[in-house]
């Protein structure tokens, strides 16, 4: 039981992600979480004015069910299958964040500096979440997939477009962390 309560190593998590992808293909579907954002637009009525959202969202109910399961899985893992554990970050990483003024680094999954209600209700904190979310939603649909659709499914199928997209993911991530973060937090 202790093995389950402790954080799981990469060599357990990675193959399990591949098995999840494989299971969905076995069920006749494709692993792609970002498609749900488009489905939610359609449910909200975006299909009336925009062709891109004019499709039968009911065909995507299976994927929304995966989302519901993911929420439940997050709850189970966090509240029932975990003991309080600090994230075992590289001390160099911790030091860089403390220079940005972060506190309690790695004590929870998300930093209070970004996700606590105090942070969210400040202009800076709210802007970070809205800009970050917008870029994720816009970018993933422009690129035709996210980490699940491109990095795991696409690369597993040796798709060149997915390799290009993943290179883009890293290009964007490196620009954000190394060039933009010093401007936001420095």
């Amino acid at each position: 039981m202790d093995y389950i309560l402790q954080p799981w190593p990469w060599y357990v998590a990675g193959p399990m992600m591949a098995i999840i992808m494989f299971t969905l293909v076995y069920f006749g579907k494709t692993f792609g979480m970002s498609s749900n954002l488009r489905t939610l637009c359609t449910i909200a009525g975006a299909g009336k004015k925009t062709k891109f959202f004019d499709f039968d969202w009911k065909a995507q109910r299976w994927n929304l069910t995966v989302v519901l399961g993911a929420v439940i899985g997050g709850f189970i893992a966090h509240f029932l299958l975990s003991v309080p554990t600090d994230i075992d970050l590289n001390p160099v990483t911790v030091e860089s964040l403390s220079q940005y003024g972060f506190e309690n680094i790695g004590k929870s999954l998300l930093p209070a500096e970004l996700y606590s209600w105090d942070a969210v209700l400040s202009l800076k904190g709210l802007s970070i979440l809205i800009i970050g979310g917008f870029l994720v939603g816009f970018g993933t649909r422009y690129a035709g997939g996210c980490t699940s659709g491109h990095a795991i499914t696409g690369l597993s199928n040796l798709q060149l477009p997915s390799l290009i997209a993943v290179i883009g993911f890293f290009l964007g991530g490196l620009i954000m962390i190394h060039l933009v973060f010093p401007l936001i937090f420095g």
Partner: protein
């Protein structure tokens, strides 16, 4: 009842993402600074396992649950959309620490401020849909 299997897939997905800390903003930050192998190990071993499973699928012509051959549709050819869209996604991923799977999983861990991020992501997808025909792909 046919949805139960998808619910279970989602539950396992959520558990793996939390237990491996892949939903942690800190792990994403650490990854983009190349200061830990952890995330590379997850993505790398997922892809290695996935490549193996898909090669076996093609070689032995596995059937899916509906009786057809198991397959994944090819991605459309292109360059601009993948590199530009991918880069925009990467900027948002690194800033928020959450991609379109983890953002739902985090709701389950009790971080309700993530709902703002999800709302913004839906908005971003909507704006893409509106501008789609005017963007280079």
């Amino acid at each position: 009842m046919k949805f139960i299997k998808f619910l279970l897939v989602g539950v396992v997905f959520g558990i793996v993402l939390v237990k491996s800390e892949a939903v942690s903003w800190y792990r994403i930050y650490e990854m983009f600074r190349f200061e830990s192998f952890h995330m590379y190990g997850i993505i790398g071993s997922a892809v290695a396992t996935g490549v193996l499973l898909m090669l076996l699928t093609k070689k032995f012509k596995f059937k899916n649950i509906e009786g057809g051959f198991m397959r994944v549709p090819d991605k459309e050819k292109g360059l601009v959309r993948y590199i530009v869209g991918g880069t925009l996604f990467g900027l948002g991923w690194a800033l928020s620490g959450a991609c379109p799977g983890p953002m739902y999983v985090l709701v389950g861990t009790g971080v309700f401020s993530i709902l703002i991020l999800i709302f913004a992501a839906i908005l971003g997808t909507y704006v893409y849909g509106v501008l789609k025909d005017r963007l280079p792909h």
